[in-house]
């Protein structure tokens, strides 16, 4: 009564046409695409083992799929009412049911073994060659080479114009940073991770490492990559408005090059310390301040200082910004508890904070004329 075999054919035909139309519309973009269908090329042994485990489970799934759905397809074709097939009456078969319970159990045992041994080696962070502390901030990473007095922030470096579409997007759009993590090739690098605000996750797919960075807790992970090169990843745990803009870039370099890079970094830190008491001019501070602002503040307070009503306060015309300098410096240094306003004192140098405070006090409609020096910041740090 409710069976329309001929019209059904007509409908599926229509649906198929629709699909073809949809695909045809995509052909221009299809032709130039390189379609990544699988995990990225592994750069570490761990990632390779994960890759192989994934391949193995896919084959197993495929076999099960065929074993289950080939009979189903046969039934759908042959045992049709419209083909005049009479229904059988059976509804139980203990033997069959036992068999198809036991076989999957065996398959799972077979799968569990390689997975378990891989888990154990992923967790083995002993015998490391160097340890780097990774701290997540909304929305950047800080890398600290433990024992070496090297510490820096790694910010996204994709220009706003590219994100908003007024400039063409670069090759590494959203996957580029101002200062990458630099590590030596062929050495076991242990990462200890934490966060200063919300949960983030440090992830480089080619390494097979993804680890949540949890405020107040320390977790560790490791990788060893033999081939020098640049490897890219992203924050993998939703961490607020900047979550999509929090890339991870790791530069793997030969050990000699790593050693000279380290020397450079230490020298740079020394120059910065020497400049602590220098005084700067308004123009200089504002120029630097604008950079610091767009890297650290603009995501919430917006490039035009207007904020997002209800979520993030405006800085343009703000009482704190146009009020006393010390109140302004304090909130930047110490943040505001239970809000997204972080304590930037931990993240930024005195110079950066002096610059950004000067910038905020002298931009948009704010015209205090105040010039804040690094020494002012140092004085308010307790």
């Amino acid at each position: 009564m409710l069976n329309f075999p001929d019209r059904r054919a007509g409908l599926s035909f229509f649906a198929a046409r629709l699909l073809i139309g949809l695909i045809a519309g995509l052909v221009p973009s299809l032709s130039r695409a390189e379609y990544a269908l699988n995990l990225p090329a592994p750069a570490s042994d761990l990632a390779q083992s994960i890759y192989d485990l994934h391949t193995l489970i896919l084959w197993i799934c495929l076999v099960i799929l065929l074993v289950v759905f080939v009979p189903m397809a046969i039934a759908l074709v042959k045992h049709r009412k419209s083909a005049g097939y009479q229904a059988a009456k059976f509804h139980d078969n203990l033997l069959v049911e036992i068999i198809w319970t036991i076989i999957p159990v065996l398959i799972l045992f077979f799968m569990a073994r390689p997975a378990a041994s891989l888990v154990v080696s992923m967790k083995d962070t002993t015998k490391e060659d160097l340890t780097i502390k990774v701290t997540g901030y909304q929305w950047k990473w800080e890398y600290e080479y433990l024992g070496d007095n090297i510490r820096f922030m790694s910010n996204t470096s994709t220009p706003k114009e590219q994100i908003e579409g007024s400039q063409p997007k670069g090759e590494n759009y959203l996957l580029e940073v101002d200062r990458p993590l630099v590590v030596p090739a062929g050495k076991k690098v242990r990462l200890v991770m934490t966060s200063s605000d919300v949960i983030h996750a440090w992830w480089v797919p080619a390494f097979g490492v993804k680890q949540d960075a949890i405020p107040g807790f320390i977790r560790d992970s490791w990788f060893k990559v033999d081939k020098p090169g640049t490897y890219r990843g992203q924050c993998a745990e939703l961490c607020g408005v900047g979550h999509g803009f929090m890339p991870v870039v790791v530069e793997v370099v030969p050990p000699e090059q790593f050693a000279s890079w380290k020397k450079e970094q230490i020298a740079m830190a020394a120059t910065a310390a020497a400049n602590a008491n220098k005084t700067y001019g308004m123009a200089e501070l504002k120029a630097l301040g604008e950079k610091v602002y767009s890297a650290n503040c603009a995501a919430c307070h917006q490039p035009d200082g207007a904020g997002l009503p209800g979520a993030f306060p405006a800085l343009n015309g703000s009482k704190i910004v146009s009020g006393d300098k010390s109140g302004h410096i304090d909130i930047v240094l110490n943040g505001k508890p239970a809000t997204a306003m972080a304590s930037f004192g931990k993240q930024l140098s005195d110079l950066d904070i002096a610059a950004v405070v000067t910038y905020e006090r002298n931009s948009w409609n704010n015209k205090t004329g105040d010039v804040v020096q690094p020494a002012d910041i140092a004085a308010r740090r307790k």
Partner: protein, 530 residues
């Protein structure tokens, strides 16, 4: 079976002075399981379209790299509310709607055990729904930290966060009351002769689901209450600076959250296990093992929660335990799929719309099960956690699983509920459009996740462009196709070929012994089940 007769008599007695008021008051004051079922179903359809519209905007933003339509904070609000509303506003109420309509009809009861509680369970929903929708319009906008509400991010929001906590509390109360009602109805009001092992499988799945609800909704309530007190009353449950632990929230949340996903799929198993035998014209294969499979899935669902947390960095023993337990779930799930295929085998199969949706369910849900198995392997999960692969996984189990089984059930029972046949031709068109568009939308997401695209990002790097375009186009078609669903349903409610008592020749449960639509008070005298 004493109670049954007593209840039957009581319903009979009521009959005389329980004439339904007309107009709006009929719906506001209704204690009738059919009216309330209808309300649940319309509510969930509305929420389905609302949350679906949010998804359309999300897909439009993700059509190409760069920020075009939305600021990231609005994007995060949309993904969060899409998930929250789909789960609590669309899928769960739809399934409770089925329980309201079908459980009494299928066990030969005159109504639910607690009709007034039933009214209250429903009318809490619009209140919660209004709070959720209104939260978009308060300063700061809706919650934006993901439907999983992880602190400390969840501490950083405005008033919408408190409104949503309140809404989820209300939804939870509604679910618990609904569940208690369903349990009591099933245990006490079955027709004489209907032993537990003679109940239709749909009733079994709902019985077990209701126990899951009673067990885990209070856990969710605890978790969000702790969030609330952390936000406003100076507790530090999840704040490391005050001696708390943010990861503890995830443990509590997923202790609720994993059973929750089975709350959304077990009744679907029940619907599909009803539809397939009907159109295969052959009894369900392995009824007893189906019941045990559902029960063991429900049990296992309590001991797998931390598979959502493999990247938080648990000890090896923890990771291994939760990996093994998760893999175990694949066994009863597999048994169900095997049983459905065995039911089809040597049946006399026809392909009406409910059957098409059920067959697609069996195939596509299994694909979701496979990706679940892939994710169960800790090392592979570490690569795929929080990527589009997980998005693909849960849409295969929740859209082609729960949502499409709900559509199967709607087409299957609409003739019973309305007394009219739906438009079979349009129903089939809806099926094909939905199935094709669904796969075009979500299959490429497996590739995106494998290639390394994180979930919950408003913008992506260039390598992900093409699959995102395909997914967006598929998504628009999928969204548009659901308007056809709405049209078919409205058309069927308004009129159509009379359905007769039993429009499906292969159907044999009790509801088909009633007229279509069934009388306002059905089974006033309980039927006798041999």
């Amino acid at each position: 079976m004493n109670t049954t007769t007593i209840n039957g008599a009581a319903a009979h007695h009521d009959h005389d002075h329980d004439h339904a008021p007309a107009g709006i008051m009929r719906w506001l004051t209704s204690t009738n399981h059919k009216d309330i079922g209808t309300l649940y179903l319309w509510f969930s359809l509305f929420m389905f379209f609302f949350a679906g519209a949010l998804a359309m905007v999300i897909r439009a933003e993700l059509f190409q790299p760069g920020l075009q339509l939305l600021q990231p904070n609005v994007f995060n609000q949309l993904t969060t509310m899409h998930g929250l509303i789909m789960i609590f506003g669309a899928i769960m109420p739809a399934l409770v709607g089925f329980a309201n309509w079908q459980v009494p009809l299928m066990i030969g009861a005159s109504d639910m055990a607690f009709p007034r509680l039933n009214n209250w369970s429903f009318w809490l929903l619009p209140a919660a729904g209004t709070l959720l929708i209104a939260s978009f319009f308060v300063p700061g906008g809706a919650i934006a930290g993901g439907w999983t509400m992880y602190p400390p991010l969840f501490m950083q929001g405005g008033i919408a966060y408190d409104m949503s906590i309140l809404a989820v509390h209300i939804l939870g109360i509604s679910s618990i009351m609904g569940a208690i009602n369903i349990i009591t109805t099933i245990l006490n009001m079955r027709a004489p002769g209907m032993t537990l092992m003679k109940m239709p499988l749909f009733v079994w799945t709902w019985l077990i689901t209701a126990y899951l609800l009673v067990a885990v909704m209070p856990v969710l309530a605890c978790a969000i209450t702790m969030l609330l007190t952390d936000r406003h009353f100076g507790t530090h449950f999840f704040d490391a600076a005050g001696g708390g632990d943010p990861i503890m929230f995830q443990h509590i949340f997923w202790f609720f959250g994993h059973p929750e996903v089975y709350i959304m799929i077990l009744p679907s198993f029940g619907i599909v296990s009803t539809v397939i035998p009907t159109f295969a014209r052959k009894p369900l294969f392995g009824y007893v093992s189906m019941v045990y499979a559902v029960a063991s899935i429900a049990f296992l669902s309590f001991i797998v929660w931390a598979h959502h947390m493999f990247t938080t960095g648990m000890p090896v023993a923890g990771q291994l335990f939760f990996m093994y337990a998760t893999m175990l779930i694949a066994i009863p799930t597999g048994i169900k799929v095997f049983n459905w295929v065995a039911t089809l085998w040597r049946g006399s199969i026809s392909f009406e719309t409910p059957m098409l949706f059920s067959l697609a369910f069996v195939f596509l849900f299994t694909i979701g099960g496979f990706s679940g198995l892939v994710l169960a392997l800790v090392p592979v999960d570490i690569q795929l956690q929080d990527t589009y692969y997980v998005v693909a996984h849960f849409h295969y189990v929740l859209f082609s699983g729960s949502a499409m089984s709900i559509m199967a059930g709607v087409y299957y029972w609409l003739p019973k509920w309305t007394g009219h046949m739906y438009d079979e031709k349009l129903g089939k068109l809806h099926f094909w459009l939905t199935t094709i568009a669904f796969n075009v939308t979500f299959f490429p997401m497996h590739f995106l996740g494998l290639a390394g695209m994180p979930r919950r990002i408003p913008d992506y790097s260039l390598q992900f462009t093409d699959f995102n375009k395909i997914a967006s186009l598929g998504g628009f078609l999928l969204g548009a196709s659901q308007l056809l669903f709405l049209y078919v349903v409205i058309k069927c409610v308004r009129g159509g070929e009379p359905a007769g008592n039993r429009p499906w020749d292969g159907a044999d449960s009790l509801e088909w012994t009633q007229t279509s639509p069934p009388p306002y008070h059905s089974f006033v005298t309980p039927p006798l089940v041999k």
